[in-house]
């Protein structure tokens, strides 16, 4: 299978331009461009150069360790992994969560959405949006934002802090806590903790509204540019609630194609493999998922804020719902496929998270004592959650001794792998093709990647499936022996 600009026919004749590392994203990745003598782009790839392997080394560990262990995948969205793994283990212990347990987990999750979205928008993306993609690289960073727009930077820092405090109160620590356990949670929210959070929630909602207004203004000041930047159409996938509402914690899977037509809807995620497959390509540690019914060529899709806001029928909190409607109506729906609309929808979701936190803080169930439940033991569990960056799938099998024997993680950024590469190729064609490359032009590529808020640390799990090729060269560089491993892990001479 090939896509335009994915693989050049004669790479040996082309010059290579590398952006490494891609900055202001989580984890380590690089972009390679192959250009001819006229600077025409023949190949553009976004590579993940780090390697993790959690799926392999959790094998043999007792299942109850998993939510605490796998969250170490990431320091930005550990709560997402913590909760997705806990949901999978709820199935394994046969639990139906008590209202207190589910609401505490939701509170933790909304805190995570708030802090992660704030981090991305203010710390990572705002320098591009406020200063311009090709602006002076010396100030195109959060320090530059703090100097030029101190009020905006301050809101970003304090919104993130508030989300982190919610995580600390529900999980014990701001990063890598232990709040969710198989079948429930290990603590409730005390009245003192609730009152501390209530004291600031109105401010957080106000600042989240300001953030939506900010991105809306930036976007609509140059609508054609923002709509057209790295533009392409694609399918979208996300969880939705039973009534079609946006739900970041639980629901059924919904996929719609590039024309808005339903591919599948309200799918029970515990059988996700009937709908999604993963492909390994030889040039990346990150797998390429695709929707099975549409095949490898047509089945790629996007997840994350843009997918969720597009896919849901409504957002169940009023302020965010009003913003969703405004977004969908913008330019007759012109932004709904735009790469940079990720930023806009991300802020709508941050507002939804803040509103949801307020709603939960007024719910007395958070002070309940019925924290854990269990039922009939199962040997398999699947947990799916809408993480800040998109749909996150954790799938585990245990044996009779309660040890993990198999794990499969399909991480948000992995879902977006093809889509990010598509964005890179589009931007390369739009802005770089035939031009003399400058730092500012190359940053356009990074801007496209950044829109997805990728977490590359989370996303590299092709252990044992990564094709490898080893060549033995003589002193003149001639190949005298070689061995290769294919995507099934088999060696071929």
């Amino acid at each position: 299978m090939t896509f335009a600009l994915e693989t050049a026919e004669h790479p040996e004749k082309l010059k290579r331009v590398v952006i490494e590392p891609v900055s202001r994203v989580e984890g380590h990745g690089k972009v390679t461009l192959l250009l001819d003598e006229n600077n025409r782009v023949h190949q553009a790839r976004f590579h993940i150069v780090e390697f993790r392997g959690f799926e392999k080394f959790i094998q043999g560990r007792p299942y109850w360790e998993v939510p605490v262990m796998v969250q170490r995948l990431c320091g930005i969205c550990p709560v997402s992994h913590h909760l997705a793994a806990s949901k999978a283990l709820d199935m394994i212990v046969g639990a139906t969560l008590t209202p207190t347990a589910e609401k505490l987990r939701r509170l933790m999750h909304y805190g995570q959405i708030l802090q992660s979205h704030a981090l991305h928008f203010f710390h990572l993306a705002s320098p591009d949006l406020l200063f311009g993609f090709g602006s002076d690289v010396a100030t195109r960073n959060i320090v530059g934002v703090a100097a030029a727009f101190p009020e905006i930077a301050k809101k970003g820092v304090l919104l993130r802090k508030y989300g982190q405090e919610i995580i600390r109160m529900t999980a014990g620590k701001r990063v890598h806590g232990t709040g969710a356990i198989p079948g429930g949670v290990n603590k409730n929210l005390s009245l003192a903790e609730r009152d501390t959070l209530l004291a600031d929630i109105e401010q957080m909602i106000a600042w989240s509204r300001d953030a939506v207004e900010l991105i809306k203004k930036v976007y609509s000041d140059r609508p054609d540019f923002h709509n057209g930047f790295g533009y392409y159409r694609s399918s979208f996938m996300s969880l939705v609630r039973g009534d079609g509402a946006l739900d970041l914690y639980h629901g059924g899977l919904r996929a719609r194609d590039e024309h808005g037509q339903t591919i599948f809807d309200h799918v029970d995620y515990s059988h996700y493999w009937d709908y999604i497959h993963e492909e390994v390509r030889p040039w990346s540690y990150m797998k390429f998922p695709f929707i099975r019914s549409r095949g490898r060529e047509e089945g790629w899709y996007r997840v994350g804020p843009l997918a969720r806001v597009n896919n849901c029928d409504f957002i169940p909190t009023p302020l965010a719902e009003a913003e969703r409607i405004a977004f969908k109506e913008f330019g007759g729906g012109s932004a709904t496929q735009a790469t940079l609309a990720y930023h806009w929808t991300r802020m709508i979701e941050m507002l939804h998270a803040a509103e949801s936190i307020r709603e939960l803080l007024h719910d007395g169930d958070l002070q309940g004592d019925d924290l854990v439940s269990k039922g009939e033991r199962q040997l398999r569990g699947v947990g799916v959650i809408e993480a800040p960056r998109g749909t996150l799938i954790h799938h585990y099998r245990i044996d009779e001794n309660e040890q993990i024997v198999r794990a499969n993680l399909i991480v948000s950024t992995t879902h977006n792998n093809h889509a990010m590469n598509e964005a890179v190729r589009q931007v390369a064609l739009q802005y770089l093709d035939g031009k003399v490359l400058t730092e500012g032009l190359l940053n356009h590529i990074e801007v496209a990647i950044r829109a997805f808020d990728p977490c590359l640390s989370c996303a590299t799990h092709a252990l044992g499936k990564m094709p490898l090729e080893v060549e033995l060269l003589d002193a003149e560089g001639a190949v005298i022996d070689q061995i290769a491993k294919n995507t099934s892990g088999q060696f071929c001479i």
Partner: protein, 240 residues
């Protein structure tokens, strides 16, 4: 005979038959230790409780208190050696505190904090050790075993079962269980046995309880191990 010893210049009374460790704990003086547990016969294997008595290094948990001993305990030199011993324990096994369910309740971790251990210092061995999850209620994770033999003593002396023992020499020494299959499930160990709860690390744990105590409510979340163990000793004396 006044029956007193001196630890770091402090005069401490003792009773006949007491070890230096016994006398120190009774007097509210903490000597770092891992393999020692006042409920069991002293073992003297971890050497963390080494003190200097009249110029000689001895294990305080096995050394009888004798009138007039001049003992150095809380010195920079001894604590540096204790820290090195603790670092060696960490690198010899596979101790991953970040996702270990014993974290916050673990004596090894707490002693490391007490001794200001900031890193493992030595290269990790990363040994390949077996996890025995065959027992329906108890997990044996040899990755976290420090060979203190508290489980051996508890099973033998309290439970009367002799489930555990050590086998092999030197770096090959490992915890084994008393069954023909070598599996924990084929022993008569029960979750209510003392041996199932005495492990100072996370090597022997009762299944399915991991992380049920929230961060902030674990034993060492707010108290140094010296405070915890001295309070326990004081409580024990109150019961006598």
């Amino acid at each position: 005979m006044s029956n007193t010893i001196t630890i770091d210049g402090q005069t401490i009374p003792f009773q006949e038959g007491q070890t230096i460790m016994d006398a120190a704990l009774a007097a509210g003086v903490y000597i770092p230790h891992l393999c020692h547990n006042p409920e069991f016969t002293p073992h003297g294997s971890c050497k963390l409780c080494t003190v200097t008595v009249n110029g000689r290094n001895v294990a305080s948990c096995t050394m009888p208190a004798v009138e007039g001993q001049q003992i150095a305990n809380n010195t920079d030199e001894l604590n540096a050696k204790r820290r090195a011993l603790t670092q060696m324990l960490f690198v010899e096994g596979n101790h991953f505190c970040p996702f270990c369910e014993k974290s916050g309740n673990c004596n090894l971790q707490a002693v490391a904090y007490h001794l200001d251990m900031m890193s493992p210092h030595y290269n990790h061995f990363y040994p390949a050790r077996e996890v025995d999850a065959s027992h329906p209620d108890i997990l044996l994770d040899r990755n976290r075993c420090i060979l203190c033999e508290l489980c051996v003593r508890a099973s033998r002396d309290v439970d009367g079962k002799e489930v555990f023992g050590l086998s092999g020499r030197g770096i090959d020494c490992k915890l084994v269980v008393n069954s023909s299959s070598g599996d924990l499930v084929d022993t008569d160990l029960a979750a209510t046995d003392k041996a199932a709860s005495v492990c100072p690390t996370g090597a022997i744990i009762v299944k399915r309880h991991g992380f049920s105590v929230p961060i902030g409510q674990r034993i060492f979340d707010h108290k140094d191990i010296s405070q915890v163990q001295l309070e326990a000793a004081q409580k024990e004396r109150g019961h006598e």
